[in-house]
């Protein structure tokens, strides 16, 4: 039987068990990398931010109360790391553009993928789907469909009421549905 995240956190905190923490990193690294890659355009930067998130998680592990899932707690941490990075970048001459495409750090490719996609594209990829949405709605979809968080967990991560999250998800889906001419469920 797989050891739960909560048990691993307890081991890491009480026994200072680094290997328990390593298991947590193994379990959540893909999700965290994906989250940061959705936030920043640069793959190497996404890896750096993901690493920074895990190092911060180690420092703050004893603040995890176990009231929600560890994944949601870690996502919140990752989101805060991204916001800090963005604040730093906003002071720089060229601000980081949130939720760009999946291009390899190439500004031209970014512009291309951020362009409004055609409605008849078959199986549009994620950047194209998200490109028709404003930042806040992209974010809730990433947290909901990508990170697998519940509305309550997203509400905790973003400090936004659950009702707002629900309507943002609904609005985002309606926009995608309309843009890509996808029929609603019967």
């Amino acid at each position: 039987m797989e050891i739960s995240d909560e048990t691993l956190v307890r081991q890491a905190v009480t026994l200072k068990d680094v290997s328990a923490f390593e298991q947590l990193v193994h379990r959540h690294q893909v999700r965290m990398l994906h989250l940061q890659r959705r936030f920043v355009r640069d793959h190497a930067l996404a890896e750096d931010l993901a690493q920074e998130t895990f190092l911060r998680a180690w420092d703050k592990l004893d603040t995890f109360r176990g009231t929600g899932s560890f994944a949601a707690w870690l996502t919140r941490l990752g989101y805060n790391i991204f916001l800090q990075h963005r604040r730093k970048m906003s002071n720089a001459t060229k601000a980081e553009q949130p939720y760009p495409d999946d291009a390899e750090g190439d500004a031209n490719a970014t512009t291309e993928a951020m362009a409004t996609p055609g409605p008849h594209d078959e199986l549009p990829d994620l950047p194209k789907l998200l490109a028709v949405l404003p930042e806040a709605e992209q974010l809730v979809l990433v947290l909901s469909y990508g990170q697998g968080l519940s509305v309550t967990e997203i509400s905790d991560v973003l400090d936004v009421p659950s009702g707002t999250i629900k309507s943002q998800i609904h609005r985002a889906k309606e926009k995608i549905r309309a843009h890509f001419k996808i029929e609603a469920a019967a």
């Binding site: 200072k16 680094v18 923490f21 390593e22 990193v25 193994h26 690294q29 893909v30 999700r31 990398l33 994906h34 890659r37 959705r38 890896e47 993901a50 690493q51 895990f54 190092l55 180690w58 420092d59 004893d62 999946d102 199986l123 549009p124 990829d125 994620l126 789907l129 979809l141 469909y145 990508g146 697998g148 889906k173 995608i176 549905r177 890509f180 996808i182 029929e183 609603a184 469920a185």
Partner: protein, 110 residues
């Protein structure tokens, strides 16, 4: 990769599939080794800083209490009674002896 329970809406299907495909792009990347290496380096650095602080703290305590300590040991050896001023040296010695442990409390990960 993404947990979901048989969505009935075609848009849900599309979104889950798009996120799964997107996540597959990073599935082969393993950052755990780098994370653990950075963590170990950080822990070693902290331990070194704390160890050095403890050592310096102990040196300071010993330097300040050495005259009193000599007298204290001399009196204990000759079974003479301790004066109140000598008794004051004792808590300082205790704190000094516990300094390394107290310093580790600064960061309970170490």
């Amino acid at each position: 990769m993404t947990d979901h329970n048989k969505p009935s809406d075609p848009l849900d299907d599309l979104l889950y599939a798009a996120f799964d495909r997107d996540m597959a792009n990073v599935a082969s990347i393993d950052i755990s080794g780098q994370v653990m290496k950075s963590l170990q380096r950080r822990l070693r650095l902290r331990a070194a800083v704390l160890g050095l602080s403890a050592f310096l703290g102990l040196c300071l305590v010993v330097a300040f209490t050495l005259p009193g300590l000599n007298e204290l040991l001399g009196r204990l050896a000759s079974a003479q009674p301790l004066s109140p001023s000598l008794m004051a040296v004792l808590p300082v010695i205790v704190v000094g002896a516990l300094a390394p442990w107290l310093l580790t409390m600064v960061d309970d990960r170490i």
